[in-house]
Amino acid sequence: MNVLVIAEHDRGTLAPATLEALAAARPLGTVHVATLGDVADGLVEVLAAHGAAHVHQVHHPLLADYGPEAWGDAVAQLVWSLNPEVVLACGTDRGNEVLAHLAAITDLPFVANCLEIRPGDATWSITRVRWGGSLLEQCELSAGRKLASVAHHAFEASEAPVSASTAVFTPELDALVARTVVTERVERAAGVTLATSPVVVGGGRGVGSPEGFGPLEELAGLLGGVVGCSRAVTNNGWRNHTDQVGQTGTRIAPDLYFACGISGAIQHWVGAMASKKILAINTDAEANMVTKADYAVIGDLHQVIPAISAEIR
């Protein structure tokens, strides 16, 4: 069986999730990888070290930067030429977007964010994520070609070296697809982000006001961390949505998450559950966050947080 993996990269730099997709692909069959546009030197070697037997370098002037229509059309043409039984991508914004385009072009089902893929004869059995990770769905996939994206962290990237053949593929792209290619970028300032910070001090409705976040900022500063929040906070306009942790916000994975005045609704929890340790600060000892946390302090966050900062100093 041939499996085509769409490599995810941003202007040449490989997204690590691609290596997880390769780990998911290897048990299914012979691994082919498509790279779209120019990629960094040495990328073929990295892909080969993770089991890519064939690398298809897809080149076209309209693939110079990311554009979902151009990527979708180019992948569809490669798929028609190569005829793989399976097409996998990363369960990321771009990976899911490109597979959705491929699915729409080919009128095939597409199963997003898979945790396990069990091949069968006519139908395959798949476990996938629902509700942002709080529910698991078993589904059956019946299709001439299987399109699936791989949920982040579901497969561990690992080396499985092979020697890779390379081939250039030149799709025919309609000039029209230029309409969805990135036209401008505003680069992010360097520094820790909510997603990568080793410490996150999160505040919920219990913080009570925008000003109430001052002591949380201070504690985060002392520990080299950043402030996060719940949706109750963004909904009240107390903080920007870029600080929101959860199903429709950011997934965090710090060494320690302080969850202050946050009840622990499941949609918040799925964004925080990858934290190594969680300390809940809550007036309610029965709050879901308290019962699920590793540590808890029962009390008013307005008193507890300044006391912790004072003790650190």
Partner: protein
């Protein structure tokens, strides 16, 4: 300007999502219903677009008769028209959903004129297929970008922003256009009393959805496994600070 926004009725679970005995659905016996926060923001954006540029906003959903509630909620915020594609409430796969929505859009457009902007949520709250909007846009041969956190309408075109790992990406798209919206694009308003009363009078048009099931079929749902936690209570009130700092030291987090 004519704007369409598509929303999906989903349960609003609290601390835990319980499953029905047959394993086929979320147990909604004690739950209210809502839409995804992404879709709430898409509705707000539709209302703001019409406030800024004139015209009319329409909300559309495919779901059980009870999804009337989500349509009227959108109407209470300022959406003028509502369309229901009624189902028996069972799980519709994304392929089938997209086909039914595409057909309904073509029907509405034939009768009332084309939509300049069609808004979707980035992903549905429950099934999260990341595809219905893309399938509809492709079927309509219109451009679509997902993950949008900013929309500015220019002369026949739209500037749309999305956040990526490396920073902000900007797309410049010709109208008519389809956009998948992410929470954070705006701060949704709450309905006014007047809005609520007006929403009761909105006529909900019904379009029977057709189409055959696609190739993905739900077999069963289960809760994600959870590690049992044994919460260590470090103390009560500010007196717990010393114990917290000991714990920070133990984890190697003090600089």
């Amino acid at each position: 300007m004519r704007v369409l926004v598509c929303v999906k009725r989903v349960p609003a679970p609290g601390a835990k999502i319980n499953i029905t005995a047959d394993g086929m659905a979320v147990d909604t016996a004690f739950l209210g219903f809502t839409t995804s926060p992404h879709e709430e923001c898409a509705v707000e954006e539709a209302v703001q677009l019409v406030e800024r540029h004139g015209g009319e906003a329409t909300v559309l959903t495919l779901g059980p008769a009870e999804a009337d509630e989500q349509l009227r909620y959108a109407a209470s915020l300022g959406v003028q028209k509502a369309v229901l594609l009624p189902t028996d409430g069972s799980d519709w796969d994304p392929q089938r959903t997209a086909k039914a929505i595409t057909e309904a859009i073509l029907g509405i457009e034939a009768a009332e004129g084309p939509f300049d902007i069609i808004l979707f949520g980035n992903e549905s709250a429950d099934s999260g297929g990341f595809q219905v909007g893309v399938r509809v846009a492709r079927a309509l041969a219109r451009p679509i970008i997902n993950g949008i956190k900013g929309i500015e309408v220019g002369d026949g075109s739209v500037r749309a922003r999305r956040e990526a790992e490396a920073g902000m990406e900007v797309y410049t798209l010709p109208m008519p256009v389809v956009l998948g919206v992410k929470e954070g694009i705006n701060l949704p308003r709450y309905p006014t009393l007047k809005g609520r009363l007006a929403s009761k009078k909105v006529d909900v048009a019904q379009v029977a959805p057709g189409g055959e099931a696609g190739g993905q079929r739900l077999v069963t749902l289960a809760q994600a496994a959870e590690q049992a936690s044994n919460t260590v209570i470090l103390g009560k009130g500010p007196d717990a600070a010393a114990a917290v700092v000991d714990m920070l030291e133990e984890l190697g987090l003090l600089k």
